[in-house]
């Protein structure tokens, strides 16, 4: 192990520090008679997040001085016959930039939440999940193999659903949380199947072997690419999986900022950038991806126009840009997409964190003359009216999903009844 560069160890540190913080807090909470006081919770978590940020920056500096570190293999995590989960990190600029941003935003949000969540009964829970989230995001950024990345991917998804359902004494957050959870579950099956397919056809899930996908027949490459894209669509709320996002702002303001303005919503895009060599190999997936991205952008922008609430408008405005970036990636403009992504996440986190300030701003800036309509209203009022009506009902996406799922639910209820043994 002597030939492993220090950057790789720093990367591990940035991945594991937040988790270590959560575990330490968890142990204290389990063993001590009382939940730890706020001050020690925030100190512990902020220190861990700061450590994660510092070591990510260190990785970046190392990379800048010594050139790309590349893939580092640490041995196999799980070995079951031929099946292996390799512990491989990929340290390159894409991962470093994303990891730096997510560590920085996590630290900022933790700072914000220290006072914002003061005296909330869920204070401890909030910071505990922050650690789980940060570890997940760092792991996704640095993982060098699909299975390893999936572990981080799931951690982020879990944190996301738990933050949506943070106020679990009211039914609406629970409903929204379950919707997000089920969307994630459905779409993440794409990720899992992609892992299985990669094992089956490439005999390895490392990103390095994915880069050599050209050895596979086109249809196999297309299947893997499509599965990865489905997974990315779920996390990044692309059509037809967009419904959950409009209901996701049920949690405290800072978690909404971090997840749906900052990291989680962009994680699907990162997956596409990460596995770009696979996507690039399949023109069909690229074409479909462009279409989905643009459609999502139009869908979300139409809603953002009419949405009268601060967080709802922000969620859809965010989705519109995420759709555009999705299309940019699918079109192969990966560098532009990465810049767009990083700038966009910074902007939205700032806007989300200031969302409750909108009345103060409106008062300070003054009642601006009501923009009233748009060019569409002047030229084609009938289409404008229809568009308004469709957008206000959010294009009935949730209801359409419910209608699609209804027969499945009915069938499963029927099967459950049929297999139940009467006592």
């Amino acid at each position: 192990m002597n030939d492993i560069p220090w950057q790789a160890w720093a990367a591990w540190l940035s991945i594991l520090a937040p988790l270590a913080g959560s575990l330490a807090l968890g142990m204290v909470a389990l063993l001590a008679p009382n939940i730890p006081v706020e001050r020690s919770v925030t100190r512990c978590m902020q220190a861990c997040l700061a450590l994660a940020l510092a070591s990510t920056v260190a990785v970046g500096i190392g990379n800048g001085l010594a050139g790309n570190t590349g893939d580092i293999f640490f041995g196999d995590w799980v070995i079951a016959g031929e099946y292996k989960i390799p512990l491989t990190l990929r340290i390159d600029w894409l991962g470093i930039l994303f990891a730096t941003m997510s560590a920085l935003l996590a630290l900022l949000v933790a700072r914000f939440s220290r006072t914002y969540l003061h005296r909330d009964p869920g204070f401890f829970r909030f910071f505990f999940m922050m650690g789980v989230f940060a570890t997940g995001a760092q792991l996704v950024a640095f993982a060098g193999a699909l299975d390893l990345m999936f572990a981080g991917w799931e951690a982020v998804g879990l944190a996301s659903t738990l933050f949506i359902g943070f106020f679990h004494d009211r039914p609406e957050p629970i409903r929204s949380s379950i919707r997000a959870l089920s969307t994630y579950r459905l779409c993440d099956s794409g990720f899992l199947l992609a892992v299985v397919a990669a094992h089956e056809w490439l005999h390895s899930t490392t990103l390095a072997s994915l880069d050599g996908i050209s050895s596979l027949p086109t249809w196999q490459a297309t299947v893997i690419a499509a599965l990865l894209m489905v997974s990315a669509m779920g996390k990044s709320a692309q059509l037809p999986f967009s419904g959950w996002l409009s209901r996701a702002t049920e949690g405290p303001t800072p978690s909404s900022a971090l997840f749906y303005g900052g990291i989680s919503i962009h994680l699907g895009l990162f997956l596409l950038l990460r596995t770009w060599s696979v996507i690039d190999h399949s023109p069909i997936v690229e074409g479909v991806g462009i279409g989905i991205g643009l459609l999502t952008a139009l869908y979300a922008a139409s809603i953002a126009r009419v949405q009268p609430d601060a967080k709802g408008a922000l969620a859809h405005a965010t989705l519109a840009q995420v759709g555009i970036i999705f299309a940019e990636i699918a079109a192969g403009w990966t560098t532009i997409a990465l810049v767009h992504l990083l700038c966009h996440a910074s902007l939205r986190v700032w806007q989300y964190l200031r969302a409750p300030n909108i009345l103060h701003d409106a008062h300070r800036i003054g009642e601006h003359a009501h923009s009233g309509g748009s060019w569409l209203r002047v030229w084609v009022p009938s289409i404008d009216r229809r568009l308004c009506a469709m957008a206000l009902s959010r294009w009935r996406l949730d209801e359409a999903t419910d209608a699609l799922v209804a027969p499945v639910l009915r069938l499963s209820r029927f099967l459950a009844r049929a297999t139940r043994i009467k006592p």
Partner: protein
Amino acid sequence: MSHNQDDSWGDPVVDALTAAAAILPDQGPMGVFIHHNTLHSFQSLPFHQGVVRGAQLLGARPYPLMSAFRLWMHDGRIESADLDHALERALARCGQVNKDLLLGMARMQWWRLIWLHALDTQQPQDLARDLARELERNPTHHSNAKIDADLLEAVKHTPPSDIAPTPWQRHHDALLDHGVDTDVVVHGELIRLSGAFLDHGQALIDVPGRERGFFATALELLALGLPSHSLAHINRSAQRWINTQASARQIIDEALNGLGVRDDQRKTYIMATLLALPGWAGMFARMQRNPAEAPVLEHGTKVPIRLEDFLAVRMAIELHAIPKAAAQVGVSADWSTLRLTDRRPARSRQLAAALLLQNARQTGVELVITPESLRQAWADLDVFNDEARRACGLEAYEYHYQRQILDGLSYARTHRPALGKGSPAGQFIFCIDEREESIRRAIEEQGPEWVTYGAAGFFGLAIDYRGLEDFEAAPYCPVVVTPAHEVHEYADDDAIVHERRRSRMGAWKHMESAIARSSRGLIGGTGASLLVGPIASLFSVARLALPRDSAAALHSVQEFVAPKPDTALGSIRSKVNVAKSGKPIGFTIDEAADRLAGLLKTIGLVKDFAPVVVVLGHGSTSLNNPHESAHDCGACGGRRGGANARLVADLVNRAEVRHALRERGIDIPESTWFVGGLHDTADDRVDIADLDQMPRSIEPAWRQICVVLESARRANALERSRRFEALPLNATPEQALTHVQERATHLGQPRPEYGHCTNACCIVGRRDISRGLHLDRRAFLVSYDASIDKDAGILERVLAAVGPVGAGISLEYYFSSVDNQVFGCGTKLPHNVTGLIGIMNGHQSDLRTGLPLQMVEIHEPMRLLIVVEATTDALLQVAGRQAEVRELVVNEWVQLVSVHPTTGAMHVWADGGFKLFQPDAVELDRFQYSPQRNCQGREHLAPAWIEKGFA
């Protein structure tokens, strides 16, 4: 059911709309937040009846839970004597006699046992059953609460009456019991439509056709929208209604007929339907009453708002949602049929009763159990029911505080040293606000030559004020007053500087709003990301890491780019000068003198003027706080009161005005100068206006005032910080000042200040009667001198303003803290501002009214204790003339105490008359300075004596 049925022969729909409009929350758009009695429409009933009725209709709790009262009893917040006092009143109210023997004890003792030990039936329903089951199954586990088999047997033979479930009010209730919640669909649809319709400019584009009202707009949106799975065919029905030009009323009737609601059930049904989403329905009702608050259309006209439209749209949606849901669970959608399928069992109280007897026995009481006495005891359980027990708890809780305050006042009366005859060096007129109590005390602690007064924060000058940067004038006075004058602020220096600033500020604001709006679009969003994104991340880091310093830096950048010019008020009207509104701009000398004489006489400042008189209004600045306006001055209509204070000084300092005042018997010497300013209650800043006008001769006196104010605002910050856990109790005043400044500029701070939280009493009288008392920022202090008020005319004016305003604040805090989920708006953390008019929880919810948890969490829910230094006769005179004051006092929505101006005898208003209160001769804790008292903890502090207030 019969008690729920209509009691009038009028049209049920009209009746229901009128009745609901009266009950629905009456909170306007949130930009201006006015505190009011949440159950204002029940004020004509006695307090206890009113809150129980109101809470029942809104599905809320009228009082704190019994568990809270018992905890307070355990903590000593309610003492045994307090409970006895309240129990006696409860017995009298129920017409019961204490001497009766029940179960071998006096009735009052039995009631005391009930109060202490009966299970709370408003606790979650299964609690009593679970507890009892647990006890039966595992008696040894709870050995000291084990139910005696004999007791159980005795109770089984003479059980107390069962509790029937609340009858279903509408389809939703019945369907919910069958496992399907129709409101999820109905509310989702309704909130999206209402939110867009009532939007004050937050969405990028308006909903088209709002000038036709909600009903027409919503029908069109429904008709044009995509078909919905859960509201089958609603777009077809909407199109049909549009084609037949159906009116809102026709749709309501069609829906009621379609859902099988019979005429005699309609009123109840509609009321329950409107109260299901009270925030939104309330906003429609409110804007219908106050059309000025409705959104503006392009041409400056207002959107027409009618509650009936809202009901019609709701019923149209229900008409489609209910049959579908009913079919899903296989029940009839016909209300007349459905409501008869109620099979919910009544709740037995047997086990709870047995537990009560058991607990009673545990306390060492010898129970004499006979069937007859048990029957009587159970009958008492119904008379002294949950509501009565809580009412009793509240009175005990209030009585404890009342005793503390009245004992404290009586201590002050006997222990007050004579204030030196020396003339005052400075006089300060503050708002009556209880938050100013501490800064006034801090000023007075610097020596007997510093004197403070309290007057309602608009200082008798009701104006429509337009500041330099305001677009239009807004009322700066209590909401019940309509100003007759406008006052404008003008830039003082040359027009070029002002114009340059205007255009620069305008460009800056335009850019800000352009970025915010365009970032929502496709192309604008991309542009904003790439251009503003990197800057935004810098801002995030700076504003979160160093909130106070970065805010100061931003401010100085702004001052550099666009420096604020010196300004002056157009306070005096020399010639005809009329605003667009038709009101005169500025006062004439006589108008000004009349109002100022009124102010000075009210507070009793008519002679012995100090060289400097400081008039301070108050306001509050904070970030990320939709409830910011709730911290501003209620007497200035929920705005910052600096303008009125500045205007007072501006007017009084004019020689003509002083001359006119002299004619009115108030002689202000040439050597006295008034200054006006603003005290910011969030960051404890004091801004003084028009200092450049001050004559040279005043400056030595003014420098002393500055020293006093600087030290007082630090002491005030320190005293406030006592409540904030983030600052240690032994912090220095300087640290405290930094801390509160950081709070006011911190984006992640949901508690920039605690606002009116902990308000509890109101002392009307000369400051002398309360000076020296540490009242823990809980007392409104109103200056009033009975000795110069011959016919109670001044008292009438004072109480007419202070009574309703104080009661409004105190009752809003009462309700929001008693049931924060229904009367208040829950925790701030997931709040989402919608349409610039209000807040929702998360992505879509009812419009949440009332106060958030963070604003009431340390409040003690009590009715305002108003102590007036005036004779009972004077008070009765005022009550005879002022209907609203009379209503508040007689119906006991406030507690009123008269303190005789000369003898000091105290009379408390209770049960329809003044009753003598005999204060205990207590020894108050004595301290040199307030900080010694403050550092004793973060809890509420009983009155203490501060010696420096006089020395």
